[in-house]
């Protein structure tokens, strides 16, 4: 399912980055160096920095809470705990959505559709993830050590938000492809790249087919958080069908951290991964006209602790959104 938009623009973005991410190559609006950041728990720290992120965005675009019609927010914790508590602090209507790490594009699609239908004017989309809160929910206690696999990804700590509006700006949201669930019966919850690569590929191909485009149409194709090995799988899948490798393809998991840091293993993951890379790298590059057309493919692994413990497979989903400089 591919949609076209006429008057949906990204007006302003904000980013807050935490430990490990701050040693990466990009600049962020605000940073913190400690997982507690003077709070009692990791969760409270995540909520605090999420609120900070939204406040920075409101400050940057000089808008008050009354000017915003809706916030669409997502995070990794059960029942969207972080989003719910963040929204305690704002007097703005709220949608909580969850498609795991594909939520970023899901939010952009929802926001653009609402704006394009002229029902709303200003919508904030926001995402947040935190390495330790995710680790303790999905895996083991924080202090519990085990030998890690090379293909594991390392959840990004940070939050990011965008203001989507019908007011013209440099960056227009032009098209979007809503993905379908893909399941190749992968059961290893540590191997996110293997789980998500086929769904990213499927959404990518659907997008090209439905709009009748060539991959070269885009200056940059950016997938969400496949990691070092997932990125190679994506490229191999493309090679198998097209006979050549993509030269304009990048994966945000491989960009967000310092590449010499061995502790981050195969790269970043988590909802905020692609959102932070988009806000701090892709959008500035688009404003400076280095990239004119960018395709974002956010990839999500739809697992829960219960499904993994019951040895069920991990379904995955990817949504694509294309941005153009006007």
């Amino acid at each position: 399912m591919t949609l076209k938009y006429n008057n949906s623009y990204i007006n302003e973005v904000s980013t807050v980055a935490g430990p490990y991410v701050i040693y990466g190559p990009f600049k962020y609006d605000e940073t913190f160096t400690d997982y507690y950041d003077n709070e009692e728990t990791f969760e409270k720290c995540e909520i605090k920095n999420y609120i900070k992120c939204i406040n920075i965005l409101l400050g940057k675009c000089n808008k008050s809470e009354n000017d915003i019609d809706l916030i669409i927010s997502s995070d990794l914790l059960n029942q969207l705990m972080i989003s719910n508590f963040m929204m305690n602090h704002f007097n703005i209507p709220f949608f909580g959505v969850y498609n795991a790490c594909a939520s970023f594009c899901e939010e952009l699609i929802l926001a653009s559709t609402l704006i394009d239908s002229k029902k709303m004017n200003n919508i904030i989309t926001a995402t947040s993830s935190n390495n330790l809160t995710a680790e303790r929910q999905y895996r083991n206690p924080v202090e519990y050590g085990y030998q890690k696999k090379k293909y594991q990804t390392f959840t990004v700590t940070g939050s990011a938000s965008c203001l989507i509006s019908n007011k013209k700006s440099n960056i227009k949201i032009t098209t979007a492809t809503i993905g379908k669930v893909v399941d190749f019966d992968v059961k290893d919850s540590l191997n996110m790249g293997k789980v998500m690569a086929p769904s990213a590929y499927e959404t990518f191909i659907t997008h090209l087919k439905e709009l009748n485009l060539k991959p070269e149409y885009y200056d940059l194709i950016l997938t969400g958080d496949l990691g070092k090995y997932g990125k190679t799988i994506f490229n191999e899948l493309f090679y198998k069908n097209f006979g050549y490798y993509l030269s304009n393809y990048e994966d945000s998991a491989c960009m967000i951290y310092d590449n010499n840091d061995k502790r981050v293993l195969a790269g970043g993951s988590g909802i905020a991964c692609i959102n932070l890379v988009t806000n701090s790298y892709v959008i500035p590059q688009m404003i400076s006209k280095k990239y004119k057309r960018v395709l974002l493919i956010a990839t999500g692994a739809l697992m829960s602790v219960t499904s993994v413990n019951q040895k069920m497979s991990i379904p995955s989903i990817s949504h694509a959104v294309s941005l153009e400089v006007i």
Binding site: R136, V142, E143, Y144, G145, K150, Y151, Y229, E236, K240
Partner: protein
Amino acid sequence: MTKEEYNNICDKVMPKESHLKRYVISFFIGGLMGFVAELLTNIFINYFYLSYNDSISLMLIIVIFITSILTGLGVFDNLVEICGAGLFIPITGFAHSTTSSALEYRKEGFIFGIGSNIFKLSGSVILYAVVSSFFFGLIRYLLLEI
């Protein structure tokens, strides 16, 4: 594309884990742990004039204590990542998983937090230790008494 075709592509891409290196490291670390424990036991026997059984118990208490302290300081998980089973298989693994669970659930209170969750990871060790000791006891009884 079928599941098998996809798995074939992935198998080519996925990195090879260097098991041999891990085996060698854990072999030597495990040996070192044994050496330190034996040294402690002998010190207690020869210099503190404790019985053999008391020395063993004291040695275990010290090893557990050090593991728990290191877990609390956030050092032990990093060591486990490097040393693997050599550091993990003895009683240290039990102490480490118990302490890390206790730390994790402290914020949820003493009863429903620590109390309910402290054996979350190490509970299966207790259960199967009790079950297997029952069966070994039974076998021993059958062999020796009948």
